[in-house]
Amino acid sequence: MDRPALTDLAEEERVFRDAVRAFAEEKLRPLAGPMDKESKLRPEVIPALFELGLMGIEIPESLGGAGASFFMSILAIEELARVDASVAVVCDVQNTLVINAIKKFGSPAQHERMLGKLASGAVGAYALSEAGSGSDAFALACRATPQGDDFVLRGRKLWITNGGEAGLFLVFATVDPAAGYKGITCFVVERGADGFTIPRKEDKLGIRASSTCELVFEDVVVPRANVLGDVGRGYKVAIETLNEGRIGIAAQMVGLAQGAFEGALAYVQQREQFGQKIGEFQAVRHRLARAAIDIEAARLLSYNAARLHDAGQPFLRQAAMAKWFASDVAERVASECLELYGGIGFTTECPAEKYLRDAKIGKIYEGTSFVQLDTIAKMLFSEGA
């Protein structure tokens, strides 16, 4: 059996990676700084992502998607994040959370309706967190009350990525608070539904161009046909999609680290101090060598988790490890690369500080680093080493 190395890309993977890289370099690189300052994506960015097929990677061709693998999503997220982590997370949430959840749990009729929409221009958002339920996600308070053939949604969601741009939201709410996690149900809510408002966008340290919003549901009527999976089984939807989501964030952090690293590697070969290029000092060279090792290891963890997923093998432990490690690497590499620039690295004139600010979220969203360690440890004790 042919078992190529993890980083040995198939021809179509290589062609795709190069196309995304060219797009990111030519179209996103000039916008990354300004969009960070403006805390907003430029209007041309999302249509361009759709045109490149980056917003429906795993949607079947028959529904207007590219019909490609999960690994392709990982490549896209990594290449986008190498230039701008904000744009990468738009693509990440769309593919690894929203489309993934609908593909896995939606009925054929829901596939047709919702995946078709997501392939053709609708951005998706994934609304799980609330003010009182972050890591303890299933303590959520958003309430869905049955009413004839419908449900009536009431409550608030917080820190929802893509909230500003999304047309389609996966909203987790409980139909029975007394039932604990077994009351949680996943609803598909469209932007513009009566009673659904988005009153606020967060002001953040990093990934500033990506919108992070509060969602308010005041007696929003959601038809039963928009329940994803079974009533009371939303916890399954959440758990099972976040596993893939973690690999997506790992890829985002790998790409970010790579981008920060490449900038510093170029800088040390031009900057001179004490009569030589600073890249000739052993301390600088060793720091870059260590960063390269870290990035390579993080990439291997991410690719392995993604390839295991595509092969239908268990990948939960590897996904948690990839996210934990890659987010740690991204923060360290971004920070240490910034130092190689000296004073200018600390200023907003230089892209190094943006990489560092953008890296911080990696240890927080889609399961904090504490949660990843819990997941890994739990599996060690239940399944063995």
Binding site: E11, A19, G65
Partner: protein, 260 residues
Amino acid sequence: MKIMVCIKQVPHQDARLDVNGAGTWIQEENIKFEINPYDQNALEAALQLKDKEAGTEVVVVSIGPERVTQSLRTALGMGADRAVHVKDGAADGSDSLGTAKILAAVAKAESPDLIFAGFMSDDGNLAATGPMLATLLGIPHTTTAVSFQKNGAIQVERELEGGALEVVELNTPCLVTTQTGMNQVRYASLKGIMAAKKKPIDVKTVADLGLAGQVGADAAKIKIEKLYTPPKGQGAEILSGSVDEVVGKLVGKIKELGLL
């Protein structure tokens, strides 16, 4: 309508180039390649015609080793319908005429209405292959197109010296070589790349084309004797400092040398 687009794979613009051990070409191991930028505009021009005219077929043709497949797949991913890959060591070392002979043999088999090629390649910079190909085929051609229109006949604006433009009209079949910047080149979309997996790449040898012994290094009339980086000029002085400092030093130098 059938359009043939000639594409060449060349070192990527960001690739670090070193002269090879023999001093006759660049070291090609472990560097990144891409479709010659001028040829990307040629391909885009063909694809824009295909977008406008239903039933248009775009065939991309390239000569080179296995790695060229990636460029052909990229072209197919951008929207070309099929590819011809002349993959044969016997084609290595062909000069412009050899290359044009190979492309002419492919063109004779394909009989396209229109042939597009970049006006030159980013590596060889000879700008000879396109006109030679047209001459071998006995069809009209024009070069360095900056705009292209087809309303029955072909209308091309071409670049001349000093920023002047010339308008040329040609009847098909004909050949047009393209200048960069004539159009905005599209990216291969993921859908296109996935669809390209099913598009055919027809692999041919020099013998398949009836050109055994007529192309390649031995038949070449032009041989690269030596490739080298010129030694740094003597006596040059690089002024450094802020803009104001540099200007000050420059003015000082000019006065010191009595040049004004």
